[in-house]
């Protein structure tokens, strides 16, 4: 594993022998989203609809490494982010029913198998919510495998579709990560769904001016070199604004053998 990261020769050889996955996306955030507050993540975020599902590799390829990711943003002073997203679960804001998802995956990082946590866990409004400042309490397994810890967030009233709220500022004292969500409760609400995603960040890039492309090459900048698997879902996010916006993204997934 991780041959593509071992040397440039390995990278070129893998590309030449097995090819690469290259995609270009255009996505639109067509509705206004809801700003975060001090009790719901501290930084305003929104999720772009859609994404990309990594195809299943063909042996001997065992996975892919994203060697290049470029994003073009519409608005200055916002930040774009791409991440592998794991659905940790969702809550129906009408019935209060929690539907469990998956735990964060085990991944090989620099030659070692690692039980991962989300680098960020976000609460995404996947169906518009009707609720007055709902208190959402998340029960989770932390970065050390301890169960039963909880994070409590008071969301804004009736957050709009694709609004995103960062869970991590509200973790229990001493916790730094979530491996799994085991339960979610809500104090109010008559409609909507909130889905919780654990993110493994591929690249984050502030956009300096309108229609600028991100200049931050993640490969050599200390970001965890995730090797993804077939079925992994890449999602795109924007921070710092609630307005409608467009994004163009292009990326390359190189085969890992």
């Amino acid at each position: 594993m991780g041959n593509v990261l071992r040397s440039l020769d390995d990278q070129i050889s893998a590309w030449s022998t097995y090819g690469a996955v290259q995609r270009c996306f255009s996505m639109a955030q067509s509705g206004t989203t809801t700003a975060a507050t001090a009790t719901s993540g501290y930084v305003t975020m929104q999720k772009y609809p859609g994404g990309f599902t990594v195809p299943a590799p063909t042996s001997p390829v065992t996975g892919f490494y994203c060697s290049r990711l470029k994003m073009v943003g519409e608005d200055a002073l916002t930040t774009l982010m791409a991440a592998y997203a794991t659905n940790l679960g969702s809550i129906n804001m009408n019935t209060g029913t929690f539907t469990d998802g998956s735990a964060m995956p085990t991944r090989t990082v620099k030659g070692s198998s690692v039980t991962t946590s989300g680098q960020m866990v976000v609460a995404v409004v996947t169906t518009a919510v009707t609720a007055t400042t709902p208190l959402v309490t998340i029960t989770y397994t932390d970065q050390d495998g301890n169960t039963g810890n909880s994070a409590a967030m008071t969301l804004p009233t009736s957050p709009a579709l694709n609004s995103v709220f960062n869970v991590y500022p509200h973790l229990a004292t001493g916790d730094t990560g979530i491996r799994d969500i085991t339960a979610v409760t809500k104090s109010a609400g008559t409609a909507g769904v909130i889905t919780f995603y654990g993110l493994h960040i591929i690249n984050v890039s502030p956009i300096q001016s309108s229609a600028a492309i991100n200049r931050y090459p993640h490969v050599a900048r200390g970001i965890v070199p995730w090797v993804c698997s077939g079925g992994d879902n890449i999602q795109f996010y924007r921070t710092g604004a609630t307005t409608t916006s467009d994004i163009l993204a292009t990326f390359t997934l190189q085969p890992d053998v």
């Binding site: 200055a76 620099k110 070692s112 960020m120 004292t173 984050v204 900048r221």
Partner: protein
């Protein structure tokens, strides 16, 4: 003892969630400022804090929401969208020394309840942190440009320098304008040879204004960034591949009591209201 022994281990710790990954930041600025002059520190300083939870001048929200705890968090990467060109930025802790009355002359400094110096473990030992003294106008001044000196009216100690020496200041800080805007910040002058202070003990208001008040902070730089030109370049601090220096994102600790410490962006810029910064930071726990 630290556990970050290699870059590979750093990645693995981060993947496990042992740290603080991708804290997305979005700052707010404090509005139009009064530019500095030669007699007021030369640099026009601006505090930028988190856009949510900040109401200037008194309620300052940390620019990064760190996980609770005291174990070191080593800053790996800080990247900012710097929309104002030719602007140095600091990620810094500011510690409140106290407050200053500007409407009466004499000894008008009231120290914060915490006992300074603030301490940080460096190279295995607890050491006093030298800070840059900074004044933040919290009530705009009127009528007269206030003048300050870091000493008592009777000629006693004004500050403790970086080496722990009690120092009677001789240099004056003169507000750059009779109407100095709220939230304007300036560095206070130190005696020749001094480069920081462990504590500010007294500030004499030599010349009073008709209105005005200030908070006195000590600035501890954590990381330096720079925007070369507007809207065109990220400011990047790379503690892994760039400088092999991963500063601790935890605040220094008061000798006794609890310091009022805030993690902010400090910019050195012109007088106009500054555009805000967005970006992200990553850090890994080192226990």
């Amino acid at each position: 003892m630290g556990q970050i022994l290699s870059r590979d281990l750093k990645y693995q710790l981060e993947a496990q969630g042992k740290g603080h990954s991708f804290n997305i930041l979005s700052s707010t600025n404090s509005g139009a400022l009064t530019g500095a002059a030669a007699g007021s520190g030369d640099f026009t300083v601006s505090i930028k804090a988190n856009s949510i939870g900040t109401t200037f001048p008194s309620t300052i929200g940390d620019i990064l929401q760190l996980p609770s705890g005291t174990s070191p968090l080593r800053l790996q990467t800080l990247l900012l969208n710097l929309a104002t060109g030719s602007t140095p930025y600091l990620l810094a802790y500011i510690y409140q020394f106290g407050t200053q009355v500007l409407t009466a002359t004499g000894d008008q400094f009231t120290h914060h309840a915490a006992t300074f110096p603030v301490l940080r473990t460096q190279m295995g030992t607890s050491q006093a942190v030298p800070l840059l003294p900074m004044i933040q106008i919290t009530t705009a001044t009127t009528t007269t440009a206030a003048v300050l000196t870091m000493k008592t009216a009777a000629g006693g100690t004004g500050y403790t320098d970086q080496d722990g020496n009690n120092t009677v200041g001789t240099l004056t800080h003169t507000m750059p304008n009779i109407a100095t805007a709220v939230n304007s910040c300036y560095f206070l002058p130190l005696e020749d040879g001094d480069r920081g202070v462990q504590n500010v003990a007294a500030i004499q208001t030599n010349t009073a204004a008709a209105a005005g008040a200030a908070t006195i902070w000590g600035v501890e730089p954590i990381a330096f960034l720079n925007a070369t030109y507007a809207n065109g370049q990220d400011g990047i601090f790379d503690g892994v591949f760039g400088q092999l220096r991963m500063p601790n994102l935890r605040p220094a600790v008061a000798t006794s009591g609890t310091a009022n410490a805030k993690l902010v962006l400090i910019t050195l810029t012109g007088t106009a209201a500054n555009l805000n910064a967005t970006g992200f930071a990553t850090a890994v726990a080192d226990t």
